[in-house]
Every structure is written in C-alpha cells, then in structure tokens.
Point group: C2
Chain length 440, copies 2
C-alpha cells in the first residue's frame, strides 16, 4: 500500500492537535454540565425523509446504504445527519414519554455535509450544541440563558485555552417582522430574504430589490435598510429603532425580548454580546431570537456559533415542542487555529514521566516504579528499549515528556536537574501533570 | 410528524444511560492516558478499496455517497469504517513522518457494520482500541503491556463502576503453528480453521474434519484437539503442552511468549488472564499473541474485548509497521447492561443544585446564586418557572437533583433537611457533586 493521501474535507489531527481538540471539548462539556445540560448522543443516520425536509440542504446530504443490501431491503433511505438539530428533534419525539420538560441537553458529535471543502468548511466536522426544549411552552428567559451559557463556554476557551475572543450578535425575528408589518408589508420573509443580502450586494442593490421586486416605497425601503444597520452592545438600540417611526405590537415584543437578552449579557460580559439588527439566519426555522458569532481575527470564517428560538422544534400532531439552542462549529474553529499553529499543546502525549530501563532483565522493576506513579494519577510510560540513557532521554524529548525516571532519581530533561525521588511520594508541578494547551 | 420509531441496530441511550456511557468512556480514557497512550480520531469514511481488502467482511460495509454527486465524481468509493484498525493503519502510513515510533495510541469512536442486529450486535457501536505500533520492529514486551493496560482498564470498570469482572483469554498463534508443524502438518491455517470450530461443532466433529479433510492421522488429530483443551491461569500450560510430545522451534517461541504474558498478568491480577490454547481469532491478520475476553455472566455475548499482534499492521512497500493492540466493544457491553438496568446512574442530569425562583422579578437574584455555586464547580440550574415550591421540588426530584436552594438555605430533598447556607461556601458531599454510576 503506497502512502495514502488525506481526503479533502475530512480533517484529521496529529496527536498534539488532538490534545488541543480534547481540551476544547472537555472545556465545553464542563461548562454545559455546570449549567445542568445533560449529554445525549444520537445515531449518525436519519431517514432521508427527515433530512430532506429542509429543501435547501438536500444536495449536501450523504446517503448511506449496505454494500450488499438484501433484495427488497429499503436500503437507500438513510443518510448521515448534517446537523444535530434534526436528530435532536426526532429524539425528543421518540422519547418524549421518558424525558422531563423543559429538557436541557448538550450534544457534541460529528456531522457530515457534502459541501465543497474550503478553509473552515469541511465535509466531516464536530459540532457542540446546547438546546432547551419545552412541552407546549418554553419561557423566554431561556433565550437569555442559552446565549449566556454559550458565551461563558466561549469565554473559558478564550481565557483558559487561548482561543481568540468572540462577539455574539443577537437579533429577534419578531422585531424585523413587526417592523416590516408596521410599514404595511405583508410578505415579511421576502423583505428579510433581500435584507439578508446586505453584506453581499450592498445597501443600494438591496434598496433596488425592495422597491423593484417587492414594490416598497423608496422611504419604506430606506427604513428597512436603516433598521438593518442598527447595532449596539446595550439596549440603546431600542431608541434607535423607535426613531425610525414605525409601530407594531410584534415590533414591541421583539424589542423587549432582544433588550432583555442584551441587558443580561452586558451585566455578565460587557461588549461580548451585541444587538445586530441585520442578523436573520436565512429562512431557517427560527421564529424569535437568533444568534451569530464572530471569532476575533477570523471574521472571514463566517459565524462560528449560531442558533436561535424555534416555536416548533418538533411536533407529533398533538404536542408541539418549542426550543431554543445554539451550536458551535468546533472543527471550523480548530481546523484553522490548529492548522496555522495558533493553538498548540505542550506535548504530543499524555505522558508526564518516562521510566528508564537499565537492561531488559530489570524491565519489571521499571514497570513497578511506573505502576506506583500511576497509582497516584501520574501518566507514566516505561522506555520501550534498554538503550543507552541518552537515547532514552531523546525518546522523551521528542514527545515532550518532561521527566525521565532513573532508579531512585528523577530528571527534568528541560532543565537537566536530577533529584533523588520516591515513586510513592514524588509529584510533578501541576502544570506538568498533563499536556497544557495555549496560543502558539 | 408521527412519533418516530427506533432504528433496529442503532442504539441510543436516554440521558441517564448516556451518563453511564460517559462514565465508562471517561474511565477508559483515563486509564489509557495514565499509560501514555495518545488519543487520535480518524474520519468516519475510508476508501472502499481499503475496507474490502479483508474479503470476509465486505458484505457488512456501509457505502456512502453524496445525494447529488457531480457528474463524473467518484462518489461511490467511500464507506463507513467497520473497525478502528484499518483506519489506524492508514493513519500511520499517511502520517508516519510526523509520528514517533513506537507510537502508542488509543481511539474511541463509533464504527458501523451492516450486520443483522441482535442483542450485543449492533449496526452502529462504539469501540475503544489501544495499539502500539513500531517502525520495522516492535518488542515482544508490548504484547504483555497492552493486555495489562486493558485488564487494568476493565478492572477499574468493575471496581469503580460496577461492571461485571472479566477473564481475558490469551493464546499465541506461533504456538499452534509450531505445534502443527511439529506434527508434520504444512497447512497450519487449515488446521486452525477447523479447530476454531470446536465450541460450535464439538471435538468429535473436529477430529473427523482433521482426519477426513486434511488427512491427519487419528493420533495427530487427537493431539491437535488435546492442545486446544489446555487452559491455565499460570504457566503450568507449558508442561501440559510438552506432555503432548511435540517439538518445534516455533512452538518453543510461542510457549515462551505466552508464558511471559500469563506470568506478568498473574503477578498483577491473579486469575484474570488465562492461557487458553483454543483461541484463534479466526483467520484474521494476527501473527502472534491473540486475546479474547469474557464478561462474567454474559458469556453468550461472545468476546467483548479482543485483539492481538500483527507483524504487518501496515506497510508502504519500504517500511513495515508491526503492531499489537486490543479493542473493547463498549456498546456491546453497555447496550445489554444499561438495557437490563444492571448499570444505572444516580440521576439523569449533571445538576447538583436547583435554585428555586420566588417570582419572575427575582429570577436574576436566583441566577446570581447559581453563578456563585458554579464558580466553585457545583453544577447548578435555576428553576424554569416561579411555581409554588412544592412544584419546584418536584422538578428536582424527577431528575434526581439532590438539592434545592431557597434564598439563604439549601434543602436536601431526599432527607428533607433544610439548613442555612452561603452560596460562596456551601459544598455538597463529594458523592453528590456529580451523578454516580453503579450496578443497578
């Protein structure tokens, strides 16, 4: 077998990169669990029918079938999930009798999309989602909660692991809908769809679309555009919207909801969450709050963490399950940061101590020392060969293992310092116990 | 959407079951890392060509293709991996220039097989593998090491999480091959293949096959059968084999290698590792030590943890990479134990404390208390509604959350005891901090 080549769009990390990824996933999990979110994992496949309901994403699905499916076996009706929301909605319906609502879950899994691979866009990637789903109703304060939990999670990645800081942009679909309705526009989604092109085609082109395609007056189109330019890290956006002179009950509702998210976030992490009235999240299933997130210095990646409120995450005909959730694209961030060497691990193995071996006859003595170190939680390997000590030290050095144990002493191979030590008592400095992760 | 039904062969756990699974995976990871194994994850897909090399498994592969593959796109040449060994071998070849050998890795991932689903046999399941791979050579003491590491991992699952104990059965392919050659049989694999049917068809039928199909003398066939019945938890099996009066250099080599595994294991965990001379692991790529594992009380599941030595895990034509590894079928074990209620979690959420809410106006005060508890690592939720306190307590009780916080006191809802408490100081007993897992 010749040396295989990587498969475009299916990133894999070397061991040191994987240590970075593990640290990020552990940190996310820890934050989510601190907030009482329960983990679930769903199977990788869903019925194609469930995956293709959202028309626009159909083309990106991977179909799965058994190579030798039995005659008559419906084998072509499964696909790999392309997000964690569709599987979660199905899981909620399937298990509703066994879940307690509101149900808070996090889910960290790979998803697959047949997109054209490019930087930050992969065919296989890890997402980490939190959602809160209610039975029939779900209080609005959960819209505030999920963004604060995710912000805390992303802030920890920033302060503890050296990822760049984020800005979360929040909007509320009711706000825009109420505003458009207050202007007398009935087809609010048509307006939203055109305003959503603002970053791509510019304000003049959007204005032209609104007037020519939708028949808005020049003034109404101008006000729609003015609305989309409003951003604020505090609730001052409310006055800015009011100043546009549009009134509607739904607009009031959206303004109040968005203001409460922004105020709560400003109290916890000033400047990290901004009201940004152009955020729409396409024509997705969102019905209230929507979130997008920029990673400082990596804005070209697009939103690395998105989500929102959906009044009907799932429904079995009798009961409707409203939800609010937010999802971080772990691989989108790490593929770039690890690839560029911006995030690194202090070593490529978990090992803290390498126990040297004098000769093969004394290997079991070295194994005994290693066992005593491990019994106290110190990751330890025994040297694979009774080479001369310089070579055993090089084995450790290449992997970044900080300590080599010789008989009754331990050597810090970075400083060269060697001190007598007892395997039942010696403890490395906490920073050396496990690999650490930081900005490279 | 009507209530969806589970997909046969694709098990999913409810949140409490998932907590059990997480505890098991965390424990395995911790043991593997204590022994210096580095984590890797490989993509879910491999080229079909790589997956179908082992003829017998071809029919079980899931093929993957993009729903709307572009014209001319080679879209049908990917499949989901059915184990973690084939992907690992490919990863080693692909990244050999960036890895340090011997390379020790663990890998905990889902794999997919299109098998007929039955108890303990799934179409999607989690495996946890450890392997050590060398460049050109790999010392035999690693055969001892991997079985001891896995034994330690399985023993921790037994003592700390309440899984049943295991017995690991070990053999060495050289031993059987040398024995058959010593009897004058050239086609040792043909003998192995028939002896491997011992449990299924019994000794008389195997004897008949050896004589009739392979032309062995009745005496030689009897000695092959006698060899297969030898088991011992210590190195007494060596004398038992010698007593059969067969000699061959390869037999000596196999006996010595197996004896060293069994002696080392007996010193660490007496009785848990037995030499079992009928173990063959089919006609797989193993060339030396082979392992199989029985879970006490669940022998009908078959081997829950298997592996062995392969002299050529991978080769790029110039360099050969020998390896030794062992793989535990996590879902095979947990699907049954969780399904039967033999392993349970103390609660279905990570939450330790629910902070009650007096009325919606004081929600932010409750959020403040929760933040102070979380700042000290205590998983905390705020009650979703300012219901009467009895209802808020029921919210906690249903999920198994042990404590409810009211203003300046905390109530253990199991005992009913309520005590004054400061959110900056109060600490739950360690056993209550996180969900615990044990035999149900």
């Amino acid at each position: 077998m010749a040396r295989p080549k990587p498969l475009s769009g299916f990133p894999e990390f070397l061991p040191a990169g994987r240590i970075v990824e593990q640290a990020v996933l552990d940190s996310l999990r820890s934050t989510f669990e601190l907030h009482g979110f329960a983990s679930i994992e769903t199977r990788a496949v869903e019925p194609m029918e469930a995956l293709t309901r959202k028309g626009e994403i159909t083309k990106e699905v991977y179909v799965v079938r058994r190579l030798h499916a039995a005659e008559g076996e419906a084998s072509d009706d499964l696909g790999l999930h392309f997000d964690l929301t569709v599987p979660f909605a199905r899981y909620v319906l399937e298990n509703s009798g066994h879940l307690h609502f509101p149900f808070r879950r996090y889910q960290i899994q790979k998803v697959w999309r047949g997109e054209r691979p490019q930087e930050g866009r992969y065919r296989e990637f890890v997402q980490a989602d939190i959602d809160i789903v209610g039975e029939g109703v779900l209080a609005e304060h959960h819209d505030v909660e999920v963004v604060l939990v995710m912000l805390e999670a992303l802030e920890r990645l920033h302060t503890e692991l050296g990822l760049p800081p984020v800005t979360i942009h929040v909007n509320n679909r009711k706000l825009a809908e109420g505003f458009y309705r207050g202007l007398g526009v009935e087809d609010h989604l048509a307006v939203l769809q055109r305003v959503d092109k603002l970053d791509k085609i510019g304000p003049d082109a959007v204005h032209a679309l609104l007037v020519e395609e939708l028949g808005l007056t020049a003034d109404a189109a101008a006000r729609c555009l003015a609305l989309a330019t409003i951003t604020a890290a505090d609730d001052s956006f409310v006055d800015a919207v009011r100043a546009l002179g549009v009134t509607h009950d739904l607009l009031d509702e959206g303004l109040a909801a968005l203001a409460s998210v922004v105020r709560a976030a400003a109290a916890v992490a000033p400047g990290r969450v901004v009201a940004d009235l152009k955020i729409a999240r396409g024509l997705d299933y969102y019905t209230g709050t929507v979130y997008e997130t920029e990673l400082a210095g990596y804005e070209k990646l697009g939103s690395i963490c998105s989500g929102g409120r959906y009044d009907s995450l799932a429904s079995d005909g009798r009961t409707t399950y409203p939800g609010v959730g937010i999802s971080v694209g772990v691989t989108r961030i790490l593929g770039v940061l690890i690839g560029q060497g911006k995030l690194t691990a202090s070593r490529s193995v978990p090992t803290c101590v390498l126990v040297a071996v004098d000769d093969e006859d004394s290997r079991s003595a070295s194994m005994g020392i290693a066992a005593r170190l491990r019994a106290r939680g110190i990751p330890t390997e025994v040297a694979p060969r009774a080479d001369r000590f310089g070579k055993q030290i090089r084995y450790a050095d290449r992997r970044g293992i900080p300590y080599v144990w010789f008989g009754d002493s331990v050597k810090d191979i970075r400083s060269g310092e060697q001190l007598p030590a007892d395997p039942d008592r010696w403890t490395p400095p906490p920073a050396d116990l496990r690999p650490t992760v930081g900005a490279g």
